[in-house]
């Protein structure tokens, strides 16, 4: 997706602006300063800032680290590494676009992954049934979140803070924290590891999880931008009262957003089995934070109504590029943590700056 950037100059940035869809930003043609125009442009194309950061970071590490970083293998390795976070972040983006937050996404992912694995491995269900059950369970978890937010009228932060613990604890109780080993799964239910299957094109290596991430992103992008449901999601995030007055069934849409997010998390849970081979209750415990980090760095506003799926994908990739790049450069892992923290703050600061034009 983000192949082979070479230039770091501002002109390159301008070029990428020219290539993008600016049709939405059809403002009147009064004279404006450069800054103001940039601000407007970024307001209408929230994925541009993260794309720019991603290209600059990739180019910089390619120069500093050299071919070890700038190789098809390494660049596709980053895709593999961010696939799980990218998928969960897609779910998180949907929620955040409605001005909500979902802290339970990671817990839903691990819960569904453990349930799929255990009903197949321990209870002997056929693999497709086990997977379908896991995905349905993900949707049910999302539905619980959605009902608590809309019917009980609790803030999403509180609801998902609670369900995060509930889902995680339910998973621990159900599984007695037991790991099921990769070799046993490969022997009995290889379909569970489907998304770990690799696919080589020259030096580039993809896992099916990478395709899942990209396909999901394309679908969600299409739905958000080209269907009534998608526009309603943005409208609710921007101003729920106005959306309601305009005839949007706010509660129903919100519940559906949480259900879809839950289903996407369950898909991530399936992909997680492929990634780590095993069914592991211990894995993925920080995935909610990783996902929200990707969303925020990807330029989606935590205040709702503004942002894009592509930005989220770029956000996840930025974290992946920095993690691998800094490691290959020879820094301690602490520096990755520090850099990602700084990126979050920069991203939110830019968001605030961009938002100022609407006030």
């Amino acid at each position: 997706m983000t192949d082979q950037p070479k230039h770091t100059s501002g002109q390159d940035f301008e070029q990428s602006l020219a290539g993008s869809d600016t049709a939405v930003a059809a403002f009147d043609s009064e004279r404006r300063g450069l800054m103001s125009r940039l601000q407007h442009f970024l307001h209408s194309s929230p994925a541009m800032v993260p794309l720019f950061v991603l290209l600059v970071a990739t180019a910089t590490f390619s120069i500093v680290v050299g071919p070890k970083f700038y190789s098809p293998f390494a660049l596709t390795l980053i895709l593999q590494q961010v696939a799980i976070t990218g998928i969960v972040a897609t779910a998180a983006t949907l929620i955040i676009l409605t001005a909500g937050i979902d802290l339970s996404v990671g817990a839903i992912m691990v819960l569904t992954s453990v349930v799929m694995g255990r009903v197949a491995m321990i209870d002997g269900w056929p693999t497709p049934l086990a997977i379908a059950f896991g995905i349905a369970l993900g949707g049910a978890c999302g539905w619980i979140n959605g009902m608590l937010v809309t019917k009980v009228k609790l803030p999403p932060f509180i609801v998902t803070l609670g369900t995060w613990s509930v889902f995680a604890a339910a998973m621990f109780i159900y599984s007695s924290n037991e790991t099921i080993r990769s070799q046993e799964i490969a022997a009995e239910h290889p379909l569970l590891q489907f998304f770990g299957t690799t696919f080589k094109v020259g030096g580039a290596v993809f896992t099916y999880a990478v395709f899942l991430m990209v396909i999901l992103a394309v679908i969600v992008w299409y739905v958000l931008n080209h269907t009534a449901w998608g526009r309603h999601v943005y409208a609710i995030g921007d101003d729920p009262e106005a959306a309601e007055l305009a005839g949007v069934r706010v509660d129903r849409t919100l519940v559906s957003v949480y259900v879809v997010a839950g289903i996407i998390c369950a898909l991530a849970g399936w992909a997680l089995i492929g990634r780590i081979g095993a069914i592991s209750p211990q894995s993925g415990q920080n995935e909610n934070i990783n996902a929200i980090t990707a969303v925020v760095i990807g330029g989606t506003s935590l205040f709702g109504g503004r942002g894009s799926i592509l930005g989220t994908l770029f956000g996840a990739l930025i974290v992946g590029v920095f993690s691998l790049g800094l490691r290959l450069w020879g820094t301690d892992p602490q520096w990755t943590q520090l850099t990602v923290g700084a990126l979050i703050i920069v991203a939110v600061a830019i968001d605030q700056w961009i938002r100022r034009i609407s006030s």
């Binding site: 070890k68 790991t179 080993r181 990634r275 780590i276 894995s283 993925g284 691998l324 490691r327 290959l328």
Partner: protein
């Protein structure tokens, strides 16, 4: 006649039961505070403590932090135990330094505090520490890896898969123990990452799970594809590292060593995924801790340290089916009989 004797017997049992109840609740209560209640290691620990407490007639209350590193919940748990009039606290500290003042409060209140698994800093902040000798655990796998490689050890390419960036003691001890066992200069033995031995291709962190292990292994392999020894902080991280190696077809090139001795881990040793692992014994730590609290409550005796160490070593064994001369080990079969989780 028969009925009468039966009734008498029943009376006796009831009476016995009644008198036994107050004796039972001779008000020895104890607390077990673990890092989390999710890790199988702590689950096993709780099992050991619960069984021993029931046997000795001690009321046991268990607490756990929400996540590894959650100090506040542990502080609150200790305060609850003080208020509750507990005789002893078994603590697996999440933050080995920050919890010390709270531990002191408990000791001032006359409570015996025993650190399990993870020593406090300083180690003397607790009345006693019952733990695996994590340095020794690392040393065993280091020596085993060096012995297995033989002459090739001097050209080894070693990936170090550690726990977390804040370098908790347990992670540092295992890492540095491994290096010592392998025959490397440690520089400062209180931290990892400052060594200059060219055989180490790098350190990365895993959070001690499969997902982290896989990503860390991928990163380090990208740094040096010739990696042939992989140190891992625990067996889930080792399983993740193996998946990463397998994905690029290098699983037979690298020797993976680990620490823990959980059942899935020992099975992985059996199948050759992990070369050798150092097994520790959480159940024993907890049950011995409860015994020590009982002893202390009865006559005030404090538990003693293992000679030569500043804690009581609950033991560690190297589990492998490919023993190396000069490195004591037990077989996978024995390891499976003793495994936890």
């Amino acid at each position: 006649m028969k009925t009468i004797s039966r009734a008498a017997l029943a009376c006796a049992v009831v009476a016995g039961g009644l008198t036994a109840v107050p004796a039972f609740a001779a008000d020895i209560s104890a607390c077990l505070i673990t890092k989390t209640d999710t890790n199988p290691f702590f689950v096993k620990m709780k099992e050991g403590a619960t069984a021993k407490a029931a046997e000795l007639g001690i009321t046991l209350k268990s607490y756990a932090g929400k996540i590894d590193g959650d100090n506040e919940t542990q502080v609150a748990a200790i305060e609850t135990c003080i208020a509750d009039g507990a005789k002893g606290i078994l603590l697996v500290p999440s933050d080995t330094k920050a919890i010390v003042p709270t531990v002191q409060k408990a000791r001032d209140a006359g409570i015996l505090v025993i650190a399990l698994d993870t020593p406090l800093e300083p180690i003397t902040a607790a009345d006693a520490t019952f733990a695996t000798d994590n340095f020794k655990a690392g040393e065993l796998i280091g020596a085993w890896a060096a012995g297995t490689l033989g002459d090739k050890a001097k050209d080894a390419r070693i990936a170090m898969l550690d726990l977390a960036t804040n370098q908790p003691t347990v992670g540092v001890l295992r890492d540095q123990g491994f290096m010592q066992g392998f025959g490397m200069d440690l520089a400062d033995p209180n931290k990892w990452g400052d060594e200059t031995d060219p055989r180490v291709i790098g350190h990365d962190v895993t959070s001690g799970n499969e997902q982290g292990g896989r990503t860390a292994m991928e990163n380090l392999m990208q740094k040096d594809p010739g990696v042939n020894v992989v140190y891992t902080i625990n067996e889930p991280a080792a399983a993740g590292a193996f998946e990463a190696l397998k994905a690029v077809g290098l699983e037979s090139q690298a020797l993976i060593v680990s620490v823990d001795g959980g059942c899935p881990g020992v099975q992985n040793v059996q199948e050759g995924v992990i070369g050798a692992t150092s097994q520790q014994y959480p159940l024993l730590m907890a049950s011995m801790g409860i015994e020590a609290i009982k002893q202390f409550a009865d006559d005030g005796t404090l538990p003693a340290n293992t000679p030569g160490l500043d804690f009581f070593n609950t033991g560690v064994n190297l589990v492998t089916d490919k023993p190396v001369e000069g490195v004591p080990s037990i077989s996978v079969e024995e390891g499976l009989a003793l495994c936890w989780g």
